[in-house]
């Protein structure tokens, strides 16, 4: 077992070194930026506590900290691109060569003949790189999570659905799905570079489909949350309007405007139409975990299906 693992990893050592190097860079960069952001933000908050804004002043009394936070936020944006991109690249570049390299190098016949079964051979070859992809992607996703929580506007609160694609362990499930696609496409095409290109296209299609499906689920789950000038709500907003306090009837912003509810004489002392409360049609932040599980299920199913296709193709195809 250990020999099979060592062999599987040795065959892709160059790609592994490059991708693990990129993983380490992204994780260190994300954690470093998060640490620096928190440190500067803590200094700024201390500055605000000691230096209250003067009356009538519109500028920040602690502006110098903003000048340090701005480049950190720009760097955080780049690190988030790494959090999205590196797991996808790991899946694609470690998944494609497993079968395609043997077919392209015309060594598949020999290796498959020496194994008890093609399926066993494939599981031994694909298992170790898949484990590496999963572990490295979890590390990247956790670093992305730390980065999001360190943002100056989060301040220990729930970031909700912010940075959906660049944080959390679900990054690893997406990478596993890309790995499955890459394995299947590599087995089908039998050539590495074309397989990487086709995997890129298929991955784009999968992510776009997942985006629309998820967005549809979230929009369907959106609920009217009453808001007032003193309440703080967070979540993914899909619209809003006014709710009749007596009947509970919901009016969209457009309907409220047409009904003349926003006319000056209809407003109370808070600037809200009398007899109504404002609401947001939104998915509250506390439901973030539920949608993470749903998305993981979606990508997990894609991973299982594509890995099964990869096994099926490997079992049936000619070894050239």
């Amino acid at each position: 077992m250990r020999r099979a693992m060592r062999l599987a990893l040795a065959m892709q050592r160059l790609e592994l070194w490059l991708l693990l190097g990129a993983t380490v860079v992204v994780v260190i960069a994300a954690l470093g930026i998060a640490w620096q952001t928190r440190a500067v933000r803590d200094e700024q908050l201390a500055c605000y506590r000691q230096t209250p804004s003067a009356e009538g002043d519109v500028t920040s009394p602690c502006h110098a900290h903003d000048l340090r936070l701005d480049p950190l936020q720009a760097a955080a944006g780049v690190a988030k691109v790494g959090v999205i991109g590196v797991p996808i690249m790991m899946g694609a570049f470690l998944g494609v060569p497993i079968v395609a390299r043997e077919l392209e190098g015309r060594t598949a016949h020999l290796t498959w003949s020496l194994s008890r079964s093609r399926r066993r051979w494939l599981l031994q070859r694909a298992g170790p790189p898949l484990a590496v992809v999963a572990v490295a992607s979890v590390a990247v996703g956790v670093a992305g999570d730390v980065l999001t929580h360190a943002a100056p506007w989060v301040e220990g609160s729930d970031p909700g659905f912010e940075d959906w694609w660049s944080r959390g362990p679900q990054v690893a499930v997406r990478a596993a799905a890309v790995f499955g696609i890459a394995l299947a496409v590599g087995a089908l095409l039998g050539r590495q570079l074309p397989a990487v290109l086709v995997t890129g296209g298929a991955t784009l299609a999968l992510f776009m489909a997942a985006f629309f499906v998820l967005d549809g689920w979230m929009e369907a789950a959106a609920e009217p949350i009453p808001i007032a000038p003193t309440t703080i709500v967070s979540g993914k907003i899909y619209g809003g309007g006014l709710q009749n306090t007596a009947t509970g009837e919901l009016l969209s912003d457009e309907e409220a405007s047409v009904a003349g509810l926003w006319d000056e004489d209809q407003l109370d002392e808070n600037g809200i139409p009398r007899g109504y409360t404002m609401y947001f049609l939104m998915v509250p932040s506390h439901r973030y975990g539920e949608f993470v599980v749903r998305e993981a299920g979606l990508f997990g199913a894609a991973a299982a299906a594509t890995l099964a296709i990869g096994i099926l193709v490997t079992q049936r195809r000619r070894p050239i």
């Binding site: 160059l14 490059l18 230096t51 009356e55 002043d57 009394p61 570079l193 074309p194 290109l197």
Partner: protein, 331 residues
């Protein structure tokens, strides 16, 4: 069959997958860009009373909302036209040498050619021609789309979407092609070569971008952001701001050691507040708020500079690849 036709057929046959993928990608991208441009133009033509979809005009709110919703998607395509030269350059460039070495055919191919350099030149010229032709299509389509998204801007004198709608796309494609060939020749394997070339490209282009930013700063002018009559700001590229001291020296905001900075309606900056007068203390006057911009009229020069640097980089990489091919073992 002439020598040129034979060369073209052989080159196309060797790189058919990469060329096919590039053609398919460009066809899809161009088709989408032209469709969005057509939709945006139709939308604008249907509302002749609303001349600027990006400005607030009473009665045009619904039109502006529809236009901006559609143009939001269209702008996403301009990101793809920014990425196209890097992707295409590497995909076409890396396998040229790496495939022959990995497939153990390099020895035969190089033996059958008069020289290794001549063989590489033949492969390179074909890949470069494909890249230039396809990226030129991307340039034209993205120019049409950009014009449809912002119909009221003079884009030939405007930094909006620089590098996503101009000939810099082609120059970057050739530079990426050169890097791809060089890294492919050094690594000698396709997939690790592609991966390594991608990482090298990120580092090289990030470095070039930073260097270009410093170089282009020589074109910057300092303006008063409170002067609304200053037309030089149109189409300009903002590259930062600072405080102009009474001596005329421009310093960064961070250069003021005081954390307190107060700004009045003319842009004058003070570091103390006078509670008695309810205004900033005149004795603490530091200087004026200023913004540094590169005027829109410098856009062609900046693109020409960046293109020249990218082409130089590509030529350097081609030279390096030739040396690598001459010096390396064919397996």
């Amino acid at each position: 069959m002439t020598g040129v036709a034979r060369w073209a057929r052989l080159s196309l046959h060797l790189g058919r997958w990469e060329v096919l993928a590039s053609v398919a990608g460009v066809a899809l991208l161009t088709g989408l860009m032209l469709w969005f441009a057509w939709q945006l133009r139709m939308l604008a033509a249907g509302e002749p009373g609303c001349p600027d979809p990006h400005a607030y005009v009473p009665g045009c709110e619904a039109f502006a909302q529809r236009f901006q919703g559609l143009s939001g998607w269209a702008q996403g395509l301009l990101y793809l036209s920014w990425g196209a030269p890097f992707g295409m350059g590497l995909v076409l460039g890396v396998p040229i040498v790496a495939r022959e070495i990995e497939g153990r055919t390099a020895g035969m191919a190089w033996t059958l050619s008069r020289s290794r350099a001549g063989w590489l030149r033949g492969r390179l010229v074909f890949a470069a021609l494909v890249a230039v032709a396809l990226l030129a299509v991307v340039v034209l389509a993205s120019g049409i789309l950009a014009g449809a998204i912002v119909p009221n801007l003079k884009l030939d004198r405007d930094f909006t979407w620089i590098g996503r709608r101009d000939w810099l796309i082609v120059a970057r494609g050739l530079a990426a092609l050169g890097i791809g060939v060089l890294v492919g020749a050094v690594v000698g394997r396709q997939l690790p070569g592609l991966l390594a070339a991608a990482f090298v490209s990120v580092l090289v282009f990030a470095g070039v971008s930073l260097a270009m930013d410093r170089w282009n700063e020589t074109l910057a002018v300092v303006i008063d952001p409170y002067d609304t009559t200053d037309l030089v700001v149109e189409g300009s590229l903002g590259i930062g701001g600072g405080i102009e001291l009474p001596s005329g020296e421009l310093v960064s905001y961070a250069a003021i050691t005081s954390d307190e900075q107060y700004q009045d309606e003319t842009g004058a900056i003070y570091t103390r507040w006078d509670d008695e007068t309810g205004r900033a203390d005149p004795a603490s006057f530091v200087g004026w708020d200023r913004v540094r911009i590169i005027p829109g009229r410098q856009y062609p020069l900046v693109v020409a500079r960046a293109s020249a640097v990218a082409l130089g980089l590509g030529a350097l990489a081609f030279g390096g690849a030739t040396l690598a091919v001459r010096g390396r073992r064919p397996a």
